[in-house]
Symmetry: C2
Subunit: 214 residues, 2 copies
DNA sequence: TATCACGTGCTTGCTGTCAAGCATGTTGGT
DNA sequence: ACCAACATGCTTGACAGCAAGCACGTGATA
């Protein structure tokens, strides 16, 4: 009967739960104050524990951050990945952009933390290689979609896949950061709509200039 | 004859010179290690003085940063502003993008510092409003160009000026930050060319779909 | 000589890290 | 089923390092 006691948890459960809470708290704080503005003590207390717990679980601040980046990056990628690949390449890219911008409308702190960490990585020796890899993976995905679309004749053949991928990712990140900088000054809906239109116009083969469906 | 002694300077000269050197040193260090990784002592020593001089001249770190941001932002805007407004609106935007991406190829530390500070502003209470204003000014400029172009029939009337401005600035900033993150993984030339092509395609009126000149 | 730029010693507050002890969970013998 | 011995999570106090800011000393300029 002791098994059903709700207050009685196994050590592994306790440990896993506190680690999760710590990472969540760290993500919140990073989203609010940036990586530099966060202390281990604060993380522990935000998570509902004591000062020292983050150190106890992760040993060092760098280790906590490293693990957090893994988690946050994974969740961000999962959240921005479209449900399934569409049949038409152009629409596949439009869908990626749409999912991304849609997510920005109401950004959970974990995703916000990823964007903050991405921006921080520009001047952080530790974070830079990690985020650089993340970017490259995304760009490669975009390049593949474009090249596939070009081989099918769905995407204009004069489009440079690698160059376009940089611009595509740049636009997504840049829009997101503008929004973080000044939510009230950026019309996300307008930006979203504009980006979709631009995508179609710049990708569709020159002769096949059909109107959108709506 | 004491007037020509090169070692003899007026107090105002000494003061102004050291302030300039300090700001330059601060910009360099911020470009290298980010705002959080820079100490006042380091700034002073990099500038060729002692630990305490930054504090002596600016009183507080925040004051130094504030003044530095002013200077760096101004220089960045000057460097990215095209020589003169062109006759055709589409080409005006292409020119802006071209100047910007051209500057990225060999980025002086002052301009690099601006981009780093812009990224830092996302999670910095002090910097955020300043950078937000800077962004808004640029977006307004872009909007005006677009609206002017639309009234002249040079830019497609279905383009949303405010939304497009967000995407335009986002793309510039996003490309720049990708480059800072991983210079060796980003083909700047390809991105630049791709962006120009996309700009023309997405802005030109639908019926007037002339080939590029090359 | 008076003033200002600049250097140097010092204090103070903050943060990461460690170590010792307490609390909770686990295991094995009876 | 109970309880003692142990293991593990967690807290608390202490310490070291760093950086900002201050006070005073020195040398250059007026």
């Amino acid at each position: 009967m002791g098994n059903n006691d709700p207050t009685r948890r196994t050590q592994a459960q306790r440990s896993a739960e506190s680690r999760t809470k710590l990472m969540l708290a760290a993500a919140e704080l990073i989203a609010e104050k940036g990586l530099g503005g966060v202390t281990l003590a604060e993380v522990g207390e935000r998570a509902g524990y004591s000062r020292g717990i983050a150190n106890h679980h992760f040993g060092t601040k760098a280790a906590l951050i490293a693990e957090l980046v893994d988690r946050v990056e994974r969740e961000f990628i999962e959240a921005t990945a479209p449900a399934s690949s569409l049949e038409v390449s152009v629409e596949e890219l439009v869908e990626i952009a749409s999912v991304f911008t849609g997510m920005l409308a109401d950004l959970p702190s974990v995703h916000r933390a990823f964007l903050v960490l991405w921006a921080t990585a520009v001047a952080d020796e530790e974070l830079r290689p990690r985020m650089a890899r993340s970017d490259e993976a995304f760009r490669n995905t975009v390049e593949e979609i474009i090249e596939r679309g070009q081989s099918r004749g769905e995407i204009d053949s004069t489009v440079g896949a690698s160059g376009y991928a940089v611009g595509f990712l740049g636009q997504l990140r840049g829009i997101a950061l503008q929004l973080l900088l000044a939510p009230e000054l950026v019309d996300l809906g307008a930006a979203r709509q504009s980006m979709e239109q631009s995508l179609r116009r710049s990708l569709q083969p020159a002769q096949a200039h059909s109107d959108g469906s709506d």
